[in-house]
């Protein structure tokens, strides 16, 4: 499954990138390549170990103090 996934992403990336470069979107192509690498690394990481901390917990950590701050200001 992992192997198939990597192959699929790589083929998709190859076709996609080649068409981007053919249309002379050079800068865009490199950014796209970067995102592909992130996506690939991300999916391999996900497949290798299923336990990934959800990003939402991080969001909660940031949002909570702000909410509390706002609420306390409102109460003042």
């Amino acid at each position: 499954m992992l192997f198939l996934l990597i192959i699929t992403i790589m083929i998709v990336a190859w076709i996609d990138l080649s068409s981007i470069f053919r249309e002379r979107y050079i800068k865009e192509g490199f950014f796209s390549l970067g995102f592909y690498i992130i996506a690939l690394a991300f999916s391999i990481y996900l497949q290798m170990n299923g336990k990934v901390p959800t990003p939402l917990k991080g969001v909660t950590v940031i949002v909570k103090p702000i909410t509390k701050g706002v609420l306390s200001i409102l109460q003042l």
Binding site: I9, V12, A13, D16, I20, Y25, K27, E28, G29, F31, S32, F35, Y36, I38, A39, L40, F42, S43, L46, V52, T54, P55, L56, V59, T60, V63, K64, I66, T67, V70
Partner: protein
């Protein structure tokens, strides 16, 4: 990046209506019933007025700098770096929005339509069509909205109409059984799902052709219609199922549709609500994804968003798979973090932007003078 594609006011209105209905139809009745019990419908009708105010704020911002989209407006108001920071926050917000919505689609399909199917398969399939649509561009999408809109509305109306015979008004009593604070809390919750994310849609506002006062009116009417639909579905869900059951089910609207027994042929109508819901959530997910792409290309200074569509799509699929560890967390997060988060993005940020933009234009005028 430039936004060459143009859409007309009607298409924008339809998009806005569907975006408002989006997840709300299926999810909000349950949470409203949990928070405001039998007064949930009062909460739903209250949120209409609150939402209208918020929408007017967005429209005002849209008219402030009619040629800049929200991200360009950021840079105009706060300068390049601070503006980019704001843009980044919005992009992250819409990415989170996109992956939560994608997860919700997957969860709904697994719970109600095809169990035993892995979440990943559904997410990949659904994201594939989103990416395909995004590659085709916003003009194609708004035309697709025009095709699907009557169907979505028709199907939802069928559900509403056929549920009326099994309504029991008693379930809505006592009329003021809940403290007002609970009702307000519930209505803010409703707004956080249906209305505050609309700020993202206003990134597209500069693409709208001639948004004159008549256009503004039709946008407001579209919004009112969507909120009315959400309200009537909430009323019906609670008066058919009772608030206790409504809050017990994850997708009460679906269960409500299950109960409809009108004619033998129209016996099993729940699939109808599933279809209309998946269709409307398609557009909601599209907007989240599209806006995040526009934001990214704005951040990185790309000429067009298309080159990064597919890799971002893959990233969103990955995010959706891990965004919620389980459905319990999802419910809790929606209640506890999403509400303040969307208030920050949907209310605080526009006000800050409004002030920043105003100050900037005054400064600029003085400078010139």
């Amino acid at each position: 990046m430039r936004m060459d594609e143009k859409i007309n006011v009607r298409q924008f209105t339809l998009l806005l209506t569907l975006f408002t209905i989006g997840t709300s139809v299926l999810i909000t009745p349950s949470q409203l019933a949990t928070l405001a019990k039998e007064s949930a419908w009062i909460a739903a009708s209250m949120s209409v007025f609150g939402g209208l105010l918020v929408l007017l704020l967005y429209l005002f911002i849209g008219h402030l700098q009619p040629h800049l989209n929200l991200f360009q407006h950021n840079e105009y108001a706060f300068g390049k770096w601070l503006g980019k920071l704001f843009t980044l926050i919005i992009v992250l917000f819409s990415l989170i929005g996109a992956s939560t919505v994608l997860w919700t689609v997957g969860d709904f399909v697994i719970v109600q339509v095809i169990p035993e199917t892995p979440l990943a398969a559904i997410c990949i399939l659904f994201m594939t069509i989103i990416v395909y649509g995004t590659k085709l561009g916003i003009e194609t999408i708004v035309k697709t909205v025009e095709i699907f809109f009557p169907w979505i509305i028709m199907l939802l109306t069928i559900i509403v109409l056929f549920s009326i015979p099994s309504m029991d008004i008693k379930q809505l009593q006592p009329l003021w059984g809940q403290p007002i604070s609970k009702v307000v809390e519930a209505s803010i919750y409703e707004l956080s799902i249906s209305t505050f994310p609309l700020i993202l849609l206003f990134v597209l506002y500069p693409s709208v052709l001639n948004p004159d006062s008549k256009g503004t009116r039709s946008i407001l009417l579209g919004y009112l219609f969507a909120e009315f639909l959400i309200m009537s579905i909430t009323v019906i869900a609670i008066s058919v199922l009772g608030y206790k059951l409504t809050s017990h089910y994850v997708y009460p609207t679906y269960v409500m549709a299950e109960r409809i027994e009108f004619i033998v042929l129209l016996d099993r109508l729940e699939v109808v609500i599933a279809i209309s819901w998946i269709l409307s959530i398609f557009f909601k997910l599209f907007i989240y994804f599209y806006i995040s792409l526009i934001g990214i290309s704005q951040l990185l200074g790309l000429k067009h968003y298309r080159p990064v569509t597919i890799p971002m799509g893959i990233i969103v699929i990955g995010l959706a798979l891990i965004i919620y560890p389980d459905s319990i967390f999802a419910g809790k997060w929606n209640k506890e973090t999403w509400v303040p988060l969307s208030i920050i993005i949907g209310v605080v940020y526009p006000i800050v932007l409004l002030c920043g933009s105003k100050i900037k234009s005054i400064l600029r005028r003085n400078h010139r003078g």
